[in-house]
Symmetry: C2
Subunit: 334 residues, 2 copies
Amino acid sequence: MRRGSLSKPLAALAWALLFALQAGAQTPATALPSWNDGEARSHIVEFVRAVTDSKGKDYVAPADRIAVFDNDGTLWSEQPLYVQFVFMLEQLKAAAPRHPEWKNNAAFKALAAQDKVALAKLGQKPVLELLGEANSGMTVGEYDRTIREWLKTAKHPKYQKPYTELVYKPMQELLEYLKANGFRNFIVSGGAVEFMRPWAEAAYGIPPERVIGSQQDVKFEMKDGKPVLTRQPKFAFVDDGPGKPVGIYRHIGKRPIAAFGNSDGDLQMLQVTTAGEGRRLGLIVHHDDGTRETEYDRQSHIGKLDKALDAAMANHWIVVSMKSDWKRVFAFEK
Amino acid sequence: MRRGSLSKPLAALAWALLFALQAGAQTPATALPSWNDGEARSHIVEFVRAVTDSKGKDYVAPADRIAVFDNDGTLWSEQPLYVQFVFMLEQLKAAAPRHPEWKNNAAFKALAAQDKVALAKLGQKPVLELLGEANSGMTVGEYDRTIREWLKTAKHPKYQKPYTELVYKPMQELLEYLKANGFRNFIVSGGAVEFMRPWAEAAYGIPPERVIGSQQDVKFEMKDGKPVLTRQPKFAFVDDGPGKPVGIYRHIGKRPIAAFGNSDGDLQMLQVTTAGEGRRLGLIVHHDDGTRETEYDRQSHIGKLDKALDAAMANHWIVVSMKSDWKRVFAFEK
């Protein structure tokens, strides 16, 4: 960009003013208001201070300030069932008459019965594949509308709120805090990208191109003289467990310096992130609040946290207690 | 972000100042200085004016201002051979002793002989697959270093300049102009992402996560107790022709409003972009300057422009004449 001789110092002044205002709005003392004073909060604040201090030994240039967040159970609720599974169940029921062969499909039976034990044993892949068959042939635009329509009316069985209100307020603040400090935040989820992109920007300030997730195949076709992308039954990529660092590499092409998760599906993402050189942050949200949310970890069929909890101890990742570290869980709480 | 009662108007003032400075720096009259006054330049400027005019009927919110650029032949030179192919050739020669079976491989023979006719017939896929075999087993970090080292010393045979200086100055200005007007620019290339990400930010102002390209498979592994990603022989995705809109959908999840290409490999990307509702921009860089660069189109084995040139006429995409629309091609020209 070419600037005149007068406008250069004016621009510098404007940036300095903005920076000062931004920094002032999020001092260590006022940042993360829904977090209790405690080890978790102070670890986060200290990490951010260290990597943004241009004179310190842990300084990280803005270009490299990349943070990755799991979605289900880390940024919003995943109990009693992944929200996407609830949506899929309706989709599958609607498509079932066209697929008599599903009667003997293990994933379909488990979903129809909401059999969490069976679903946990199957893992995400066969369930995603089944959904792939159900919506195969739709254009990506048609599928997008289906999801948006569903999200408008569907409600969580316990809270009786739209699912998009079940995002964790303290995590929203954390996303905002990192962004204000020059970070680029990405979602890295085992769920399908199409299911997150319609609402991630409003809920998390994360635009569609920063949402990484499992990917159903799509194909370019000419349909009635118009170019369209139609959905194919096969999944092109499952972004879970060891797939997460692969998805990060493919999509971002850089190693993040901070990773946030809540289950064993986030283990490898946390390992790769925190194995990098220089200061790193690994954080696990521990669901220990049975009153305001749901209490679960090592034995859970959804969001099982077992190996990653051991790894957290061994690697000094922050383990956030929802019960004691968070003043509130959801924005709608009083 | 929480702001005090005093800082809100100050921030608004600072943003207004910045905006005014930015707009002032890139008025329609001063923007794109390396472009001659003509239809191409005025079409671009008018498009940008229309989509950024918040009171006009063609207004597009900043969130939807997405522009996609092919790389080879659109942003930098692709003659006499895709730069990546030159790099690959050296990689393959180095790996050849470990792969006696390549002697009978059509892609290897064509590359070794720099047989452009054969390479054009084969297309990108078998060539990429061969490279995949050559660097399989390397960690992504090792491979990245190999590319960076090569780029430091390799020189273009005609210009005797590092390849990264062979970017088109008018296109750099166009990227900057769009960015200044609230666009998010992405590269969408048939080449492998790893080969572009190390230099795309310096050359084009495009960070690694906005580079979409062909993708070799990588795998998460523990190696000597450390988590690494190692390269696999198979290609996971070829981002060319009908693959480009697929890559855009997977990566961005939104339809761009402007697309820039130079060959038949960009046809589907241009079709999908310009088929969207509202004001759209399609642009093709036509290599008609045999003096400052290379003259080629319908008959070329590299960067063949045939179907997309017909489509440009039919769809009113801008066809840029490098010869008459550009004051200069490269920054190093006098």
